[in-house]
Symmetry: D3
Subunit: 67 residues, 6 copies
Amino acid sequence: MKLSARNQFQGTVTKITEGQAMAEVTVKVGTLEFVAAITEGSVKSMGLKVNDSVLVAVKATEVMIGK
Amino acid sequence: MKLSARNQFQGTVTKITEGQAMAEVTVKVGTLEFVAAITEGSVKSMGLKVNDSVLVAVKATEVMIGK
Amino acid sequence: MKLSARNQFQGTVTKITEGQAMAEVTVKVGTLEFVAAITEGSVKSMGLKVNDSVLVAVKATEVMIGK
Amino acid sequence: MKLSARNQFQGTVTKITEGQAMAEVTVKVGTLEFVAAITEGSVKSMGLKVNDSVLVAVKATEVMIGK
Amino acid sequence: MKLSARNQFQGTVTKITEGQAMAEVTVKVGTLEFVAAITEGSVKSMGLKVNDSVLVAVKATEVMIGK
Amino acid sequence: MKLSARNQFQGTVTKITEGQAMAEVTVKVGTLEFVAAITEGSVKSMGLKVNDSVLVAVKATEVMIGK
């Protein structure tokens, strides 16, 4: 499946911090580190765990530029 | 200034596609390519142009994971 | 691939309005109609056209409730 | 009041999972199930509870397409 | 109707810049100026025009902090 | 640094509600009160505390209009 998200990178989960409603997932993409805040329900239903190979996807409309 | 955005990467603008209300800005970060959809007004007020050194910032809540 | 987005629905593209930087895509999901604003670049690279079967995906953090 | 959100659907709250800062609200819209991650403060101030009739609203810019 | 958005302010439309797919709407709230990028379709269907009294609504998950 | 966010306001932190993965930060901007849901990790790494002078930044694409 192709996604419309213009920012898509393949990486590896390095850390998962679980909360009651939300969880924080850290993903290493080459030398960069991404952090995703997703629902705890998604972590459970995807069976997400450290070392999983995952895709990081971000819509272009969510990207801010600083100069 | 420190930003709360958990995803912050330094890169270089490689392309700007301008529209009437929105513009699309491509930023190279190492070997990765980010695309930001920002308002045409931001491109103008920041004086954004190709080869500018910029920061790409994305909130953790905007990051989706695929597995 | 499983996506972390908690809102995922299968539908059919019924209309595409193209602009210079952004495009508007209408998707029929059963009796509901969704509208997505994605970059014109995504419409092109995905080869999106009317009658395509597509997935609509929205992160839980993007959903507002009114009562 | 009319909202600019292009995705607006009427439904019924079927589940609320409360956390310290965030809560997860599930809303049934016909045969579809939506999940919203909103602040715990919103759940409290709106007095949201199971069986409430609610509106689900999502901006077009937040909708991703997969094909 | 009460909205779950934690940021809601009453203001007046001062400017509308229309594009093909997206439009930019400027709203004055007291001494502050907000800018919203909404679809051109929303501007049309709401009949939005300068001097309209409007509500500006932003989810807490969309707010970034800088320090 | 200039940010592309079209909504940027200077304010003062008046309250921080911490959770396991997410935190809620209230910021007073003149007579308005903004609420930001950011990761607990951001609160920690920025050393955010009540009375801090901060910037509130929101992308135009995240602003909804009601009329």
